[in-house]
């Protein structure tokens, strides 16, 4: 259980302004809920089942990935899901707001022009690779850093 720190306090006056009966109920509850439990959540469940590339007539590559990435939490709540596509020393990280960043050989990330991720649906994302990825083997993985823990899907191999 995770304790939640309250930022505000109504102080002694407020506390005693309320009825004794109310205080009784409050304290009974606090004793029962020793460390406050709060509704129900769960760890992100990230998994990939397919990655399919589509090349435009101009040569740009769009990749459709399918899997599970807590869609509702991702789009309704700030679960920071990201997608990483890698090929050799090149690795591009996509966030779901359309930003993409590439690193080569572990060097500092450089922002790409985009458009990055262009679709986020229940079990599917569509992302556009920046220039530099070549025909051949690549991998894709979904990752999220959530409440100080890192979560990652399986690494899926596919062919560009």
């Amino acid at each position: 259980m995770r304790a939640r720190r309250k930022n505000n306090s109504t102080g002694i006056c407020d506390a005693f302004r309320r009825s004794v009966g109310r205080a009784c109920a409050t304290l009974a509850m606090l004793l029962l809920v020793a460390d406050l439990a709060i509704a129900a959540g769960g760890s992100p469940q990230l998994a990939l089942v397919s990655a399919t590339p589509y090349r435009s007539t101009a040569g740009a590559v769009t990749v459709a990935i399918e899997g599970n990435f807590n869609f509702e939490d991702t789009v309704q709540l700030p679960l920071p899901v990201e997608v990483i596509v890698a090929q050799g020393a090149r690795s591009t990280r996509f966030d779901l707001a359309g930003h993409a960043f590439t690193t080569i050989g572990g060097a500092a990330e450089q922002p790409d022009a985009g458009p990055g991720v262009i679709v986020v649906k229940q079990h599917q994302m569509l992302l556009v690779l920046p220039p530099g990825f070549a025909t051949g083997a690549a991998t894709v993985q979904i990752v999220a850093r959530y409440q100080d823990d890192s979560f990652a899907s399986n690494t899926l191999e596919f062919t560009l």
């Binding site: 109504t10 409050t26 709060i38 509704a39 959540g41 769960g42 769009t62 939490d73 789009v75 649906k121």
Partner: protein
């Protein structure tokens, strides 16, 4: 600080006062009727009568006990926007009409959206209509729910009729509209906030929206909370086990949270993941004692409304184009037939935002649609494989694809849409005669055949084509069906033709041989489809939210193709002693048991199916010569795949990933072949073998050396566990 003060107060008052009401958890329940059996306050929606589960112990079934002498009061109120802090609860923003509603943008602010602020109020006795100076009552400034969570959820008015959920008016005037209204019962946003002095404030991101040029999409805000205590033994201690309170809801809510809480449920707050805890126990019946439909005009005092616009368009996407804009849903797989209208697919290409919502396009939006041969674009244009289109408005353009005569069964290809030099939509297509439309002998309902069952009983082969075909119109039909002679029962699409059972038995029982059921959803039964007759077939059908298995099979040679088993409380598919079962290209999601389970029987196969998020294992097989090939089993609570005392099974080319248990769990295999599987990121072992080593892990018989040519990686406890480990 407050807790210490309160603790001090408790020590004083415990000696002075006995509890005011035995079992009452909070002051919010003061004056509420109490269940004499439990001593707890009844859980009743405001304005609705008391509903208790009947002898079956399940809410939402026909044996529910309704006590109209006890009607729910108001304990909880939610308002959209950020009203100023004041003792009086403000009126709903919805009272001011659409123009007065807070406006958000689809998605969270991190993803380019704009959340809807909300404020939830606890409300004690005399909350509504009892004080002229505060028509909506006063917030109950009680400490006893401080820090308790309130879940606020949003539901979308997809048909823009001013209500959330099925309405009697729609049922009378346009039964087809009711199936769209059923889709309104799925939450489109939810958030958690915490009470502080009886008030909780937060913000709610909504995943859907409509173009601002079309006025956006209206949503309703509702709320629910539970009181304590929090017991580790119940719901993992993350949901209070005391009585719940709620605003008006568009349905009788599901109270058995074990249906969708995973064993790993954790505490949730405003910045964490949240389970969709506000779900329906049953699709509301429209001929019953009450309506749950939520009005969006401010007349329901506990709820409120808002408007959500879509984000700016970033691309285009295909939509189904059934005729009315409200019914447009994302285009499904492109499976085209070989005859009649099934050779054509009428779609609509619309600008969409990043979340796939219809959106206002930027000026000059133009795209090129390409259809791989032999498919042709017959509108616009006259049968080309490439068509340039401009899309000046959010309404988009109609695109009709057609298979030329003589195209071979099994042909595959690709339809793409390019915009600004990139592929923004890609749809593989396939030609398959199984989607050919059959000529109806009887259409139901009609003036002479008012129910589907009456049509089933009256149907004969009127057109002499050798088949008895009963077609069912779009709509929601409150029936249980028994099919006792060979025929085809054909709906208008699983999302459009819905048969809703009463919870007392299967929604559709097949007892005759050679019965085929197409494009129908069965919901609200003890099982959706009970296939007892031999050679029964489900084609593009869906078993949804039944209180047992989604589909049961006991007859031989049954088949499921492109069918879904979703959110049933038992297994998705349960086949028992059913020889030669074929389950292909189907899905099993969010079921309370296994996704797909075959017990006994010989020669069955599960192929190219997707199995995910089930509370048991993804696939469980126990029988002779069973084949489990080319499936994808992910994020199940048990193992991805499980064989038990199987003989001669083939488990080949499957992906089993991120399951809580093993990737492949084999208990006492007997001559099984396990080859070419990817078993990764599972909580326990990639492969777990127990009781026997009699399995081959290579296409070369006799090579019993795990892992063979299967791939394992990143499994929590290791790649393989052998007997005796």
């Amino acid at each position: 600080m407050r807790r210490r003060l309160a603790a001090g107060a408790l020590l004083c008052c415990l000696a002075l006062y006995a509890p005011r009401v035995a079992g009452a958890e909070s002051e919010v329940f003061d004056g509420d009727p109490t269940d004499p059996e439990s001593g707890e306050p009844y859980e009743i929606l405001p304005g609705q009568p008391l509903v208790k589960a009947g002898p079956d112990g399940i809410l939402g079934t026909s044996d529910d006990v309704v006590d109209t002498s006890i009607v729910g009061d108001i304990d909880l109120v939610v308002r959209s926007g950020s009203p100023v802090a004041a003792p009086a609860i403000p009126p709903p923003a919805a009272l001011g009409g659409r123009a007065a509603l807070p406006v958000g943008v689809a998605g969270s602010s991190e993803g380019g959206g704009l959340e809807i602020p909300f404020t939830a109020y606890l409300c004690g006795s005399g909350c509504y209509g009892e004080n002229a100076s505060a028509p909506y009552g006063f917030a109950l400034q009680t400490l006893d729910m401080d820090d308790f969570p309130v879940i606020v959820a949003a539901f979308a008015d997809l048909d823009d009729d001013g209500f959330i959920g099925p309405t009697t008016a729609a049922a009378l005037s346009s039964p087809a509209a009711v199936s769209l209204q059923v889709r309104e019962l799925e939450p489109v946003g939810r958030a958690v906030a915490h009470f502080d002095d009886g008030v909780a404030r937060g913000k709610l991101a909504i995943q859907v929206g409509l173009p601002a040029s079309q006025g956006g999409l209206r949503i309703a805000l509702v709320a629910a909370a539970s009181s304590g205590p929090f017991n580790q033994g119940k719901y993992n201690g993350v949901i209070g086990s005391g009585s719940g309170i709620a605003t008006a809801l568009p349905f009788l809510p599901q109270k058995d949270f074990t249906r969708f809480l995973r064993a790993t449920a954790e505490p949730a707050g405003p910045d964490t993941t949240i389970y969709p805890l506000i779900q329906f126990a049953a699709i509301p019946a429209l001929d019953g004692w009450s309506s749950y439909a939520l009005p969006l005009d401010g007349s329901s005092p506990t709820i409120d409304a808002a408007v959500v616009n879509s984000q700016p368009a970033v691309r285009v996407a295909f939509r189904e184009d059934p005729g009315t804009p409200k019914e447009r849903s994302a285009a499904g797989d492109l499976i085209l037939g070989t005859s009649g209208s099934a050779r054509r697919r009428r779609l609509r290409l619309v600008p969409v935002d990043r979340l796939d919502n219809p959106a206002d396009p930027a000026a000059g939006l133009a795209v090129t649609v390409r259809a791989g041969s032999p498919l042709r674009i017959v509108h616009p244009g006259k049968g080309s494989t490439e068509q340039a289109l401009s899309l000046p408005t959010a309404d988009g353009r109609r695109v009709v694809l057609q298979v030329p005569p003589g195209s071979a069964d099994g042909t595959t290809g690709l339809v793409t849409v390019e915009q600004d030099g990139i592929v923004v939509a890609a749809h593989p297509y396939r030609i398959d005669p199984r989607v050919n439309r059959l000529k109806a002998d009887v259409v139901a309902p009609s003036a002479t055949l008012p129910t589907i069952q009456s049509a089933l009983e009256a149907a004969t082969d009127r057109n002499g084509d050798g088949l008895v075909v009963v077609s069912v119109r779009p709509g929601v039909f409150y029936e249980r069906l028994v099919i006792d002679h060979p025929l085809v029962l054909q709906g208008a699409g699983a999302e459009r033709t819905i048969v809703r059972g009463d919870g007392t038995g299967p929604v559709v029982s097949v007892v005759a041989p050679n019965v085929e059921i197409r494009r129908i959803t069965a919901v609200g039964g003890t099982t959706g489809f009970a296939l007892a007759g031999p050679s029964a077939a489900l084609v593009e059908a869906r078993a949804w939210h039944n209180d047992g298995a989604g589909v049961t099979v006991s007859g031989a040679s049954a088949s499921l193709w492109r069918s879904g088993m979703i959110d049933n409380s038992g297994d998705g598919l349960l086949a028992q002693d059913a020889d030669q079962l074929a389950c292909e290209e189907s899905t099993a999601f969010l079921n309370g048991g296994a996704g797909l389970r075959i017990i006994g029987g010989a020669g069955g196969r599960i192929e190219a199916s997707s199995i995910a998020s089930n509370s048991g294992s993804g696939v469980v097989v126990m029988g002779t010569d069973l084949q489990v090939n080319g499936n994808r089993s992910i994020v199940n609570l048990g193992s991805g795949m499980e064989t038990s005392s199987s003989s001669g099974a083939q488990v080949m080319a499957n992906l089993s990933a991120t399951n809580d248990g093993d990737g492949l769990h084999m208990d006492s295999p007997n001559g099984d072949l396990v080859w070419g599987n990817v078993l990764v990121n599972n909580g326990q072992y990639g492969v777990w073998l127990g009781g026997s080593m009699n399995a081959d892990f290579s296409p070369n018989p006799g090579q019993q050396r795990p892992i063979g040519n299967n791939k394992t990686a990143a499994n929590g406890e290791g790649s393989v566990s052998l007997p005796g480990d």
